[in-house]
Amino acid sequence: MVTTPLLPSDYLDLASPLRAGADLRGRIEAVHPETGDAATIVIRPGRDWRGHTAGQYVRVGVDVDGVRLWRAYSLTSPTHRRDGRVTITVKAIPDGKVSNHLVRRAKPGTLIQLDQPTGDFVLPRAKPAKVLYLTGGSGITPVMGMLRDSEFDDAVMIHCAPRPQDVIFRDELHGLVADKKLRLTEVHTDTDGMLDIARLDELVPDWTERETWACGPAGLLDAAEEHWNEHGVQERLHTERFRPSIVVAGDGGEVTFSATGTSVDADGATPLLDVGEEAGVLMPSGCRMGICFGCVTPLKAGAVRDLRTGEITEADPGVLIQTCVSAAAGPCDIER
């Protein structure tokens, strides 16, 4: 009542955005380069951060060119860092808006949004006797979180990266090898070619006896899953895929109005407002020309094209679209 129509937290956020009770945020405290295109971001999370289990990831909301974009990154810090900070390690992918921003432009002091950590690509409570880590590229990041968190008597790792200098955490990995805490095979795909999964017998003869965590490009994971299946040991393989679905922006597609359970085919030129109304869905509407924002509706999945500018908008939590000036750019799901 004292602050209506705002909430007291709107004022408290001015002074103390990381306090208990605030929306979960973090402050970037440092950015350490790892390789030419990867960096570790040190984050001080808000007071309500619940902590993570090694191997888990966190969704972060970063403002890139003023637009808040959410991405998931594996936590690479051990679970009980004394200073309460956590780290994510980000590899800049070509055209990746968030990853390039974090690796090349992020500045200490910046606030970012956080979700609580999540994911079931984690170690079991009971330590397995023998472990195999099979990783490629930035797939090393959740595994690094595990390696920093707990030691195994017998741990083997096969890691694939284009060149030696592209191996993230290379010095630290070699340190573990020197301390006899890890046996490591680096596959440099620029010179050695892609890892042939059949070579596994030669590289790690007892691989079928090992509890395996694999993370990396889809090709590597597909081959691993097939291989473990063939040998009937699929229950020993744990995989993590970073990009489970890739949106392909096309021209028109099947539009699902999930709240009402309606699905229709739409072309790439008809506004989704018309598509919905035609299908009998009760759509909020306004000026029908893109100026009043009376028709904005959550886009839950897929992509839409702005009919005025041609701009593509992909689904992301919290993304709202103006249905009167947006058309389907491939299959999409509108929350109505």
């Binding site: 009542m1 001015l14 808040r68 100026i291 009043c292 009376g294 904005v296």
Partner: protein, 372 residues
């Protein structure tokens, strides 16, 4: 129609070309929106909140006259910032592109007795779509005034300068009643419709909260300064109301701004819609501070052409828009605040009396529409 159409010299092709040129201006701003703009609105919001906090803090000691003055001035400015540069523009969706749920047209609530949701409908949707169309855009005279020679005069209009003054003082309540379409809905059958009742209830809730905050809780918190704080808040609301009423009157009422017939917008093309916005709006000239305090509604013409562009960009857009006015030989109605306010009030007074015969100063656009 007795007046001359000031757009009569334009061909249909020219009007569509004008529309394309305006689209290009819009696209350019959208392509360039970014970090700086986001930082701007965040800075303004933070400044507004700090100013309000400090002002209310000072008012705790408002039995001391200098504290009363400083606190009242600060709170007035904070309330103006909330309504104009922040509220009005956020509710237009100007900042939705940032995808920040806290600065978004669907979640924003302002320091105003009209709930955001209702205002968005009557303002964004009705007023901005049907700008200055008699019988469609109720912002023309707010349903309580005669604002055009062609509207029939009635003796009740003699009182309209007084209504307008009262409306200025209690503007936020006027807007709330207007958003509720109170006049129309007081009719017995409509009064009972569940939809209207729900909306009236929402307004009631908002008024109760606002009044409780401004006139009960904060004065009580001030303890011995109860009455001075009460007076200070009342004054701040009054200042804010008169200010926003003045700014808004300057947007569409000054002499030279045109109104349109209902049938003139039938089958309107994008170019024609743009042209109507250009001829139906007026600007206020002045300093950067003036533009800021009007919520950039001093760039009313640009705002009406591009209601969803971030307000901090209207100044740069105005240069290009003005060049188009010149290119197409159209009148860009603008002037300093006192002149525009006087012009608008003058019209209110003049139209409170029946038309003096042949003189008509507000021309109409009555276009022969080419059937598509």
């Amino acid at each position: 129609m007795t007046a001359i159409d000031p757009t009569a010299h334009l061909t249909a092709e020219q009007i569509e070309e004008l529309g394309r040129e305006l689209d290009a201006i819009r696209d350019e701003v959208i392509a360039g929106r970014g970090e700086k703009d986001a930082a701007y609105i965040r800075k303004v919001i933070a400044a507004q909140r700090k100013l309000e906090l400090v002002s209310r803090g000072v008012l705790l000691f408002s039995s001391f006259p200098p504290a009363w003055l400083i606190g009242t001035a600060g709170l007035s400015v904070a309330k103006i910032m909330d309504n104009m540069e922040i509220g009005h523009n956020v509710l237009h969706g100007q900042w939705d592109w940032m995808r920040d749920p806290k600065i978004h047209s669907t979640t924003w609530e302002w320091d105003h007795v009209s709930p955001s949701e209702q205002w968005k409908h009557s303002h964004n949707e009705l007023h901005h779509t049907y700008t200055n169309v008699i019988g469609k855009d109720n912002d023309l005279g707010y349903g309580i005034m005669r604002v055009d020679e062609d509207q029939k005069w009635h003796p009740v209009h003699l009182g309209q300068p007084l209504w307008n003054l009262i409306n200025a003082c209690f503007f936020e309540y006027g807007i709330a009643a207007y958003d509720l379409e109170l006049g129309k809905n007081l009719e017995k059958r409509r009064r009972k419709s569940p939809e209207f009742r729900a909306r009236a209830k929402a307004v009631g809730r908002k008024i109760r909260k606002q009044v409780l905050k401004d006139y009960v809780i904060h004065p009580l918190l001030s303890g011995p300064s109860f009455l001075p704080t009460l007076g200070a808040t009342f004054t701040a609301n009054l200042v804010r109301n008169i200010w926003s009423h003045s700014v808004i009157m300057c947007g569409h009422f000054p002499e030279g701004v045109q109104v349109f017939e209902r049938r003139s917008i039938k089958g309107e093309t994008r170019g024609q819609w743009y042209l109507r916005q250009m001829m139906g709006s007026a600007n206020i000239s002045g300093s950067k501070a003036m533009h800021f305090m009007t919520g950039n509604l001093s760039h009313q013409i640009e705002h009406h052409l591009f209601p969803d562009l971030p307000s901090n960009r209207y100044a740069e857009v105005a240069v290009k828009v003005r060049a188009l006015f010149e290119k197409y030989e159209l009148e860009y109605v603008t002037g300093p605040l006192p002149k525009q306010v006087f012009s608008a009030w003058h019209k209110v007074f003049r139209l409170s009396l029946p038309n003096k015969k042949p003189k008509v100063t507000t021309p109409h656009r009555e276009r022969e529409l080419v059937a598509a």
